[in-house]
Symmetry: C2
Subunit: 329 residues, 2 copies
């Protein structure tokens, strides 16, 4: 069975080998820039690790590699367009595509990137290709649905935790669920195995997004690679803002609303600082850490159920899950 | 053999029957709005007409309909994103999606629309599905390449006719070529037939774009449905601007450059008016009409070659070609 490190190496090698038309280079340069700027490669590794595990750990991974790469290219496309919508200028410690090439260049290169994802996927030689395509279409559309909800929730003060989590299911968890389902389906796993892995990836995905939310406030720009406080600056609902609205005393809740909706006289730094002070007073950080831990534990439990059925440990998936505990980047 | 009118009816019916998830409705409303706001349906009709003709005119068209609809949805997606990039507020006589829902809503609904196009295509039940998917990927990527060139050429004064036509090949002709190639391939036509139809659609596509360029200046906003003079206002290169730079006397060429690059003191209306005055003096309108006629004739000749090989007239394709002569909308 391949290790997490070996699987990541395959993804990096596969991405580096992608071929692009020579011109117009201006269309492809932002794509190459995005794909070469790192990232954790969690989603393609989920595809490969699932397939590798379920096929016994010694089959060639070439037949499934295009699907893994397509998932990663699609994921990076969503980041590229999200950065336009969120006016983000920093990602993975580097200027975003929209900061470097402008809105029009970012829209168009993103479009080309989505087509590229489908083209890579369509390069698969597999009798299960139609089913894989279905799963890919589902994850792709779910991400758009989640992003739409994210946009609609912006600036709203009535978002409850269940409503927030529904958005996270689309925006983040669906991609991870789609990844393991593609891996399982391609490995001809039975539907119960696929469904169990889907639950694992669902909880893993939610934990992952909640961690991102936590790092946006309590992380470090240098290790995290994004500007700390960005979510607060643009008035996004996050796990922390939802917890704060739930747990802060009524007068503090009013200050939070004021800071988000009306405090145009404050510069961003002061707005972030005063918001974080209320988060601190409401004890949001430990609450969030506890919630994240619960989702990671639940993911581990779902995985254990599938492992028992298969009769072999999912080593790389376990490694991946363990690497999320106390993540700082 | 079906008439143009019958084929259009099938496209309209197919588009009206498309199913959307119920929520988030904000993601799908702009898609429905775009698809219901009319349009000539040339591209899906090209798919159906080609298939109908090459299969003898009496086969059911259900197997090919998803491909035709996918091509139309993809085309409308490109318009939706183009309108963001070009800051257009009017299309088909109605506010554009970006004017109605803003930049972020338009980016995201466009993304969902592209995924929808692939999902519709993937609903096909055909043993030739992989080849159809290849052709669809080619047309999709070609449109992005053309749009990229269009963007790179904006404001440049050194664009020659061949350079301009290369951009049009990607931006407009490729979609028409892809449409007939999908129809021909699905009908199991031999490669020479597919190649001949490709040449027909190439010249038809170029004529179509050059007509659009002509109507942008000499058309009527009410019948054309777009704001007349838009291309001039944003400094786009068009068939007319390229002809004007080629045929205007040197002092007039200098005024054209000045109007495009430096005349920030003029309001848009005055800029358009003065530019058109130079176009008139250079005799650009009749030159453009002649060029368009030549491309339409060449398209007809390519079609005649294929008709001879098939031994039956391509009635609906002929009707479609004829409907382009002297088009005003």
């Amino acid at each position: 069975m391949r290790t997490l490190r070996e699987l990541r190496g395959m993804v990096e090698e596969g991405l580096a080998k992608l071929a692009y038309p020579e011109k117009p280079w201006g269309l492809y340069e932002p794509i190459v820039y995005t794909l070469q700027s790192g990232g954790k490669r969690i989603r393609p590794v989920l595809v490969l690790a699932t397939y590798d595990w379920l096929t016994g750990g010694a089959q060639p991974l070439d037949p499934i590699l295009p699907a893994a790469l397509a998932v990663e290219v699609y994921h990076n496309f969503t980041l590229l367009h999200d950065d336009i919508m969120d006016h983000s200028d920093l990602r993975r410690g580097k200027p975003t595509v929209v900061a470097k090439w402008g809105v029009n260049g970012a829209i168009l290169s993103g479009d080309a990137m989505m087509i590229l994802a489908y083209q890579i996927l369509c390069g698969m030689k597999s009798e299960q290709f139609p089913g894989i395509l279905d799963r890919f279409g589902w994850l792709a559309m779910s991400v758009c649905q989640g992003q739409q909800l994210d946009m609609e929730y912006e600036g709203r003060n009535d978002i409850t935790l269940p409503t927030y989590l529904e958005m996270v299911e689309g925006k983040t968890a669906a991609l991870l669920q789609g990844a393991v389902r593609i891996g399982a389906y391609a490995a001809k796993a039975n539907p119960e195995v696929e469904a169990g892995l889907d639950q694992f990836a669902h909880d893993f995905g939610i934990a992952f997004q909640l961690q991102d939310d936590l790092l946006d406030v309590y992380g470090n720009t240098e290790t995290f690679g994004k500007r700390v406080g960005d979510d607060i600056a643009v008035g996004k609902n996050t796990y922390l803002s939802v917890l704060a609205f739930e747990h802060a005393a009524p007068p503090q809740r009013e200050v939070l609303e004021h800071l988000r909706d009306k405090a145009a006289y404050l510069d961003t730094e002061a707005k972030v600082e005063q918001t974080v002070a209320i988060y601190d007073a409401a004890g949001v950080e430990p609450l969030a850490e506890k919630g994240i831990e619960q989702y990671l534990n639940a993911a581990g439990a779902h995985l254990a159920t599938v492992e028992k059925r298969i009769g072999a440990p999912a080593q790389a998936l376990r490694e991946l899950l363990a690497s999320q505990i106390g993540r700082t980047f």
